[in-house]
């Protein structure tokens, strides 16, 4: 990387944001296993969860490496992706609130997925050209998977939005419920400023036009109405204030690691 101010603390924060998004959303999606409305959807949801958990391993793996460098830890003492996933508490998580919102019905799960995928796709395309080669490599790999995720969630949102009166109503309810969480994806703070200046990650706000274009196209085809923008519900990506839902998710996700400290699984 080019000489300049040390970006490591900002990079660590950014990597946690990426990895926590995929970890928490992947966890939520995996809750559907064995319970989806049709077998093909069950398989597709498991596939998406699997991709997201795979991406988590890469993002949090790199986060652990960068954290080790910052703390000057010797190799053997360094934390792993698992340490970050299973041994942090709610206030240390950096995912956007959208990812931790409970599944609700199948429509809400798919709407959440679409609203996230549309951002994730733009974000990863930009990150594939990151000045940090490690970030660029992970993003390039993940982008291929996420293109498929977006394609699939768009198709299902269109199918259910422009489906029966009941499915249409449920999808509109889901959109109304989730839309206030969209704004957080585009908020920026000094972490983003530093990384964008160094060419490591895009300025979040710069992704908004492309995102809005995707939403307008897909939700239009789905005959759904985009709600009036309200104040963005944030507090996840900076850890300032998560929802109450996150703690319950962590309670099950982290149970074994917490109950049997130091065991190898």
């Amino acid at each position: 990387m080019a000489d300049g101010p040390d970006q490591s603390p900002a990079l660590l924060e950014f990597l946690l944001r990426m990895g926590d998004n995929t970890l928490i959303l992947g966890h939520r999606v995996s809750e559907w296993c064995g319970k989806a409305p049709v077998l093909e959807e069950d398989i597709a949801l498991a596939n998406i969860a699997l991709d997201l958990i795979g991406q988590t391993r890469m993002w949090l793996g790199l986060a652990a490496e960068v954290q080790g460098e910052i703390l000057g830890e010797v190799q053997g003492d360094r934390k792993s992706a698992d340490d970050l996933a299973f041994l942090r508490d709610a206030w240390q998580f950096r995912n956007v609130l959208l990812c931790e919102i409970p599944n609700g019905d199948f429509g809400q799960t798919l709407m959440r997925q679409f609203l996230f995928d549309a951002w994730h796709d733009c974000q990863l395309r930009q990150l594939a050209g990151s000045a940090d080669d490690r970030v660029a490599a992970i993003a390039a790999k993940a982008a291929k998977e996420v293109t498929y995720h977006l394609d699939r969630s768009s198709g299902t949102v269109i199918g259910l939005g422009d489906g029966s009166p009941e499915s249409h109503a449920r999808m509109q309810t889901a959109l109304d419920h989730l839309y206030p969480y969209v704004g957080e994806l585009f908020l920026s703070d000094p972490v983003d400023d530093a990384l964008s200046a160094a060419g490591i990650a895009p300025d979040p706000g710069a992704l908004r036009p492309a995102y809005d274009a995707t939403l307008t196209r897909v939700l239009g085809e789905a005959t759904l109405v985009i709600p009036q923008a309200s104040r963005a519900r944030g507090g996840g990506r900076d850890g300032r204030m998560h929802t109450e839902h996150l703690g319950h998710l962590l309670t099950s996700m982290q149970w074994l690691q917490r109950a049997y400290p130091g065991a190898t699984w």
Partner: protein, 330 residues
Amino acid sequence: MYAQMVKSTGKGVILREEMSPEERAFQDRIDAGEKIEPKDWMPAGYRKTLIRQIGQHAHSEIVGQLPEGNWITRAPTLERKAILLAKVQDEAGHGLYLYCAAETLGISRDEMTEMLLDGRMKYSSIFNYPTLTWADMGAVGWLVDGAAIMNQVPLQRTSFGPYARAMIRICKEESFHQRQGFDIMMTMARGTDAQRAMAQDALNRFWYPSLMMFGPSDKDSVHSAQSMAWRIKMNTNDELRQKFVDQTVPQAEYLGLTVPDDSLSWNEDKGGYDFAEPDWDEFFEVISGNGPCNADRLAARTKAWDDGAWVREGLLAHAEKKRARERAAQ
């Protein structure tokens, strides 16, 4: 091995002289090792028995997602979570191939699902046992998938083409499942005292239910004899159970775990282990709906089906609208 006690439709094997010319020609094809394909003529009993057997197998894959799905959100590491997700996803895929194979016999997936939910079709007894600790993910892979493989490997040579081809794909994945289960058991058995205790407890709870997976002895069963004549059942239940015990006992020893059977001993004369039979009264209770998890499993499947009705209807409505628009544009 997800088909237990599948009843054939007749009263026993039909003697050759009692067969119609069509039946005789059909049996000759089977005896010559030919594959029967969906459009070929087949006796009504063959078709019905296969629908029951393949349907039961498919349902077992689908219901079988639940006891393992129970631990996906609590898997202890990211790697274990990913492996378990992939495994449960494979099972859904197996269900899909098998439903497709059954559909070639003239029944729809929706009909079979309804028959599962209203109790007309069964699934394997094993999935009515709970998964209580992480070691159960090891035991299910090692023992349950291990038992399933015993039955499924020979079924790759079964007489009905679509079923045999589905089994070939399934077997490739099942052996990976069994290995991952054994790997979890090995990690637990070599872990802390608590992990070893969990591993032993899982073996204690899953040993006899795994032996039950093969079904009660069928050496005198007329249904099995007919199925074997049709080559939709390749071995007797006792043969497979013996093979399973002979393979599994040394693996348990390697893990340093104790098979919960005091009477277990090597029998030099037969070249296999002598072992205790499972409690068949318990087995009959479980398959008649009174196992530890029957009510929960069926409730979960029923809820998934009912809650998903609006999704299925919505997507259907969309497909119809799309077709109508395309017609209008022409």
